[in-house]
Structure formats: structure tokens, C-alpha cells
Subunit: 309 residues, 2 copies
């Protein structure tokens, strides 16, 4: 799991930050890329990375403001043009389907793959054996949603020495032991999986909170996340602006991260009114609230790691 | 009059060419910028120029394919965000209004200025004292239009020596002579304007032909243009592809320019399959058909000049 930030600005593109999009790359885990938001020129940003649009299998849209969706028709077209033929799922607030279909039909764009749309509603929106996605409505004047991505826990690694002590050599039996909690050998010996594996590998929890005012319930939703990506359009000194425009300040995001026992906080959706020096100064204030906080930049590509306390 | 090429590629953006847009800057003539097509990330390209979105007063859309319109909602939003408050006119094929209004309304984008839409139909679509815009449908599978921009001819410059011979010194009378074809001085002397001015300054003619198959009537439409910007998606060797996709080759564009007595031909809308070496080689073939031909690149900014034979 690796997060690649394609656009970390707010509202309008600037020379240093594009409008919103981030890619969750899961090459090892499932050979898929999931995209969160798709502001204008997301496909142009992708051109400067190793991301292949045809690997994108799901797109999650936090809300319908233009800086989060105006890149969608172009990206969908290019995914088709670049030999994307596998189905795509789009999860977003009601209206996203109308937006995409109007753009594609008026432009007579015929995609080589089907799109399945899912309207967002609080709760689990996707789940399989290895991963679960939950969503929760946040507060932004228009319907806007946060997401958590929770990996399932995995059985610990097989321990060859312990298996050897039972007389088991590497081979087909290894696979059975991985699958089953308990097996009985031909000589009648019963092996509990726990006896021959290392500690459970706990899944990672990633939380992505887009445009929102801060509010209490969000802490429960992002509880114990290994990484929280939270909007921080404004700095603390501009809290009244943040309020006025339904956004959060960096300090509010840090307080949520602290209250929710989040391990790492990455601040996103930064207003272009701030120069790097402003953010550097702000960061010194934030570390007294939460020990592990950073501002992200366009093209930052950061592995999502389990933080063990 | 200066043309700034914001996107000279075809279909999908590449690292070297963005999708279609070009800006006609008329700072001296009328302090306005007119935009022709607005592919995705046109506003991002504009960020790298001195163009101010609020100076854009008219946008002409050749056709509704995505690479010509997907940048429109974002540009319109940013024009508003960047204090554009003056009205904007959009000329395009039927459907452009639905595209823009759907995008703006679903994203709850509220512009600070009104937009007036004009559906394109063959003929004169705009005219005032100094400039005239004509359009003509071309052949591209979907309704697609070419444009000519024709400046009005202007009276020649006043000639101070000739005026002095009539006893006229620089002053208010100069302005009257500029306005009126004939004036009578207090002593009864009649002065014809022609007697005291240099030769008529002929207006420039600019022709912009977007995506199209070549066809005979286009030569009449672009007749005697000082500059013809014509699509040349394919090179001569790929004429069958050009045919298949409703596009022109560079040689076809050069033949039109020759037949129409066009002074300069600038080739645009270049497929990303060609490397610079291909185009260089092609150019050597083209100059035997038309003496003044060039391929344009993103960010080329070229004055439109009257070519006097
Ligand atoms: Zn936003
Ligand atoms: Zn095109």
C-alpha cells in the first residue's frame, strides 16, 4: 500500500499544487489502484508518474465540487484510449453518474469498459476477504464523505523450525496449514495453526477525510488509524475563514488525530495562499498537539505502514 | 493580434502536447482575449503564460469531442475565482450549454458573471466596426466548425506634410479628418481624406480550421487568409488513418493552403505517435506544396501579421 498524492491544493490549481486527487496503489496486495477524487488534470499528473490508468479499478469521490470531479471525464476517456477494458467502479454522492454520463454522451465518448456507479451512504460500501471500505458523511455544505480503508488481519507467517519439529517439510502441507486453523497429520498428531505461526499480522487502517468542518463523530470513525489524511485548507490563524468556507484548520485536524489515537497525520488540500514558510511555521505548532504530522505535496508517494506501539 | 497555442495535441494529452486550445490575444486592438477550444487543463497551461482568464471575453468551440471541451467547466470556475466579473460569450455546437450548465450546477459552482451562449450556424456569428467572425461547418463525424476572423480595413495614416500644405497643424482637425471622408475648411477649401492619408491599411484575415476531413469548399472559406491554422493530425504516410478517423494529413492541409492562396500555414492538432524527427522530415515534403508552413508547439506565441505580396 502506497499513497501517491496527485493534487494537494484547494479550489483552483496553482503552479505548485494541483486540485484534488490521490492514488492508493496496492500492487502487492491486489494489483489494483484506487483513486480518491479526480480534479481537473489528474490524468496530466498521472502522466508524470508510473501509474497506469487501466490499473485503476475503483474511484471514490468525496463530494461534487469542481476541484474534485472535473478531471473525471478526461481520465475515463484516456483509460479507454490506453487499452483499459476492465470494469470500473465509481463511488460518489448522488449526481456523479449524471455528471459523467452527460460529459461522455455529449462528447460522444464511447468507453471500452463498463462503469458501475454506487451512491454513497454511511456504512460499509465495499468488502472482500482482505479489505473493507467504510464511509461517513462529513460537513461541507454539500454532501461530502470521508472514507476508511481497513485491511483484514492476517495469520502470522509459518515458522519453518516449529513445523520441522512436527516432522513437516516445506511442501503442499504448508498451504493447508495456512488455510486451516487445525489439521490432523496421518499419524494422528493434531496441529493448531497458532503453534506453528508467528504473531497475527494486523491489517492497516487508512482514513481519508476530504473537505469538512471539524466535528466530534469523525474521531470515532478514524479511531486508531495508522494514517489519517485530513484536509487542512487553512492554518490556525485563519480559523474564521475555515469556518466560513466549511473547511478545517491544521490545528483542528491535529486535534482530531490526537483524540482518535491516529498514528500518523498527513495534511492535504492546502490553500494556495500559504507559502512553504507559512506551513513550516505552522508545523512547529502542530507537533505539540500530535507527534507525527506532515504536510503532503504533489507527487509525494508514501508507503502506508502499520505503526506498532 | 497574437496567437498563443495552449494545446497542440490530439485526442489525449501527452507529455509534450496538451489537448486543444488556442488563445487569440488582441491586447492592442481591443484589450480582449478570445479562446478557441478548451481541452482539459487549458487553465493549467494558462497558468504558465501571462494570460489572465478574466480578459477572455469569447470562447469558440469547434466541436464537442472531449479533448476540445473538458477544460471548460474548470476554466469558467477559475475565471470567476480570479475576479472575472464581465460577461462571457460561448459560441459552440448545440450541446455546449448543456455540458457547461450540468457541470456547473452539479458542482454547485456559482459564477460571478453571466454567460451568453450562441449555437453555431454557417455565416457571420459576430461583427462590429473592427472585426468579423464567420463560421462554416466542416466534416468530422460530429458537428464541427471552422472559423475566420477578418479585421476591417482601416484608413491610412494621416500624412503631416500633406496636411501642412493645406495649412493644417496637428490638433482637433486631425480627428475630424480621420472620421470624415471629406471636410470643408473655414476658407471654403475642400479636402478629400484620400489626399492627406497614406494607403488603406488592410485588415488581417485569420482562419482556424479544427478537426475535419479535407473538402473542397474549405478553400473558398479560408481564401487569401494571412494565417491559416489547420489540423494535421496525421502525416501523409498515414492518410488512410486520417480518413478513418475523420482527420486531415499535413499534405492535405498544405494543398488547401496553396489552393486558397493562404500566406502562412500553421499546422496544429498533432498526433502523439509522431516524434519531432517525423515532423521535421514531413516538413521538407510540405514546403514543395506551400512555401510557408510550420508545425506549432504548446506555448508557441506568434504575432499574426499582414503579408503584403
Ligand atoms: Zn476541495
Ligand atoms: Zn481533437
Amino acid at each position: 500500500m502506497e499513497l501517491t498524492f496527485l493534487g494537494t491544493g484547494s479550489g483552483v490549481p496553482s503552479k505548485s499544487r494541483n486540485v484534488s486527487s490521490l492514488a492508493l496503489q496496492m500492487h502487492q496486495e491486489r494489483d489494483e489502484i484506487w483513486l480518491f477524487d479526480c480534479g481537473e488534470a489528474t490524468q496530466h499528473q498521472i502522466l508524470k508518474t508510473t501509474i497506469k490508468p487501466r490499473k485503476i479499478t475503483k474511484i471514490f469521490i468525496t463530494h461534487l465540487h469542481g476541484d474534485h470531479i472535473f478531471g473525471l471525464p478526461g481520465l475515463l476517456s484516456s483509460r479507454s484510449f490506453q487499452d483499459g477494458t476492465t470494469p470500473l467502479e465509481i463511488y460518489g454522492p448522488n449526481g456523479i453518474q449524471t455528471f459523467v454520463e452527460t460529459a461522455l454522451s455529449l462528447s460522444q465518448t464511447h468507453l471500452k469498459y463498463p462503469i458501475q456507479y454506487y451512491d454513497l451512504q454511511d456504512g460499509t460500501i465495499f468488502q472482500d476477504d482482505t479489505i473493507k471500505v467504510d464511509t461517513m458523511q462529513v460537513i461541507h455544505g454539500v454532501p461530502s464523505y470521508g472514507f476508511t480503508i481497513q485491511e483484514a488481519d492476517k495469520t502470522g507467517h509459518l515458522l519453518p523450525e516449529k513445523l520441522k519439529a512436527f516432522g513437516i517439510q516445506p511442501g503442499p502441507l504448508y498451504e493447508r496449514i495456512k488455510r486451516e486453523e487445525r489439521i490432523t497429520l496421518q499419524d494422528g498428531t493434531v496441529i493448531e495453526r497458532d503453534q506453528v505461526t508467528g504473531p497475527t499480522i494486523f491489517g492497516r487502517k487508512l482514513a481519508i477525510i476530504g473537505d469538512t468542518l471539524p466535528f466530534d463523530n469523525v474521531s470515532d470513525f478514524v479511531k486508531d488509524a495508522d494514517v489519517l489524511i485530513h484536509e487542512a485548507t487553512f492554518i490556525d490563524a485563519d480559523e474564521s475563514l475555515a469556518n466560513q468556507y466549511n473547511h478545517s484548520t491544521s490545528v483542528q485536524a491535529a486535534q482530531i488525530a490526537r483524540d482518535a489515537n491516529v498514528k500518523q497525520l498527513w495534511l492535504n488540500h492546502i490553500s494556495s495562499r500559504y507559502v512553504p514558510q507559512d506551513l513550516k511555521h505552522e508545523l512547529s505548532k502542530l507537533t505539540s498537539i500530535h507527534p507525527s504530522v506532515r504536510y503532503v505535496s504533489d507527487f509525494d508517494s508514501i508507503p502506508v505502514e502499520k505503526v506498532v506501539e
